[in-house]
């Protein structure tokens, strides 16, 4: 194979730098030479078996918001299951990630925000309840916020690495704010709350 023309430390094609525009132009010419839109039916997206694991939900679907809406995965067989703890685990502050037994507090960070268990949900997530995170976990089990906090705590290290919880804390908050928050919430409730604490 020839040497790659793009390295990881070069600007991504999503930007409009001269280098990015030149590479996009290269792709365009290749597409035109290759039959234009006919390439859609002639080609396919191949998954390369490079030794990375395929992470699936417990019922065999790809572990992502969109993937869980697809059929069962049928690719290479090196798979693990993504999962998280159920909300019950986090009703006890002692089970929160980074809990300090001396101060009896759990301080965590999402992006630039450092917060503890008493921080208001809407401060951490940018919307929703005015109640504190631990209060919600202990008193508001019927709320959506109850599950969003569970997802966040799983993402922040409440779920161990071998659970392959598929998002980090910033991504959970981003999902809350995104147009797919309803799908994300369903994903977390249906697939990621499987382990009791």
């Amino acid at each position: 194979m020839t040497e790659p023309t793009t390295l990881k430390n070069e600007p991504p094609l999503a930007t409009n730098t001269p280098a990015s525009l030149a590479r996009r132009s290269m792709l365009l010419k290749s597409v035109a030479k290759g039959g234009g839109l006919l390439a859609v039916t002639a080609g396919s997206t191949q998954v390369l078996a490079t030794g990375s694991l395929t992470v699936l939900t417990h019922d065999g679907k790809r572990c992502s918001i969109s993937g869980m809406q697809s059929g069962a995965y049928s690719g290479p067989q090196t798979t693990v299951t993504c999962q998280g703890y159920s909300p019950g685990k986090y009703k006890k502050i002692e089970n929160w990630p980074n809990y300090n037994w001396s101060t009896k507090s759990a301080w965590n960070t999402v992006g630039a925000l450092r917060f503890n268990q008493n921080e208001k949900f809407k401060v951490v997530f940018g919307g929703g309840s005015d109640r504190g995170l631990l209060y919600i976990m202990q008193n508001m089990s019927d709320s959506d916020e109850f599950h969003w906090i569970t997802a966040l705590l799983n993402a922040l290290g409440g779920a161990p690495a071998n659970f392959y919880f598929p998002f980090n804390g910033a991504e959970v908050v981003q999902l809350y704010k995104s147009s797919r928050s309803a799908d994300a919430l369903k994903f977390f409730k249906d697939y990621m709350e499987k382990h009791t604490g």
């Binding site: 020839t2 790659p4 996009r24 290759g34 234009g36 998954v47 969109s66 993937g67 991504e171 981003q174």
Partner: protein
């Protein structure tokens, strides 16, 4: 609707091979793409919606040659959505 918000792409392009390899960090998957698929995914990566990508692909390809039926791109969008790379298209 566009790129799945948790997708993070890292690219390598092999010009002589007319192929691109992209590593997606969230899933840990690595994909081999032909130039059209690579081009479409880069448009989504720049923030375009499904409709905008379809219009842009058709517009840019028409500068080179008649492009054929743009509805085939819907199949490509579904292919990417099934892989978790795109949000489900409104088709």
């Amino acid at each position: 609707m566009g790129l799945n918000p948790v997708v993070c792409l890292n690219w390598c392009h092999f010009e002589g091979e007319n192929a691109s390899v992209v590593f997606e960090e969230t899933s840990g998957q690595t994909y081999l793409l032909d130039p059209l698929r690579a081009l479409v995914l880069t448009f989504f990566e720049s923030g375009m919606t499904h409709a905008e990508v379809k219009a842009e692909v058709v517009r840019q390809l028409q500068e080179f040659a008649p492009t054929g039926n743009a509805t085939v791109l819907d199949d490509l969008f579904r292919e990417f959505a099934a892989l978790g790379l795109l949000e489900e298209p409104d088709l």
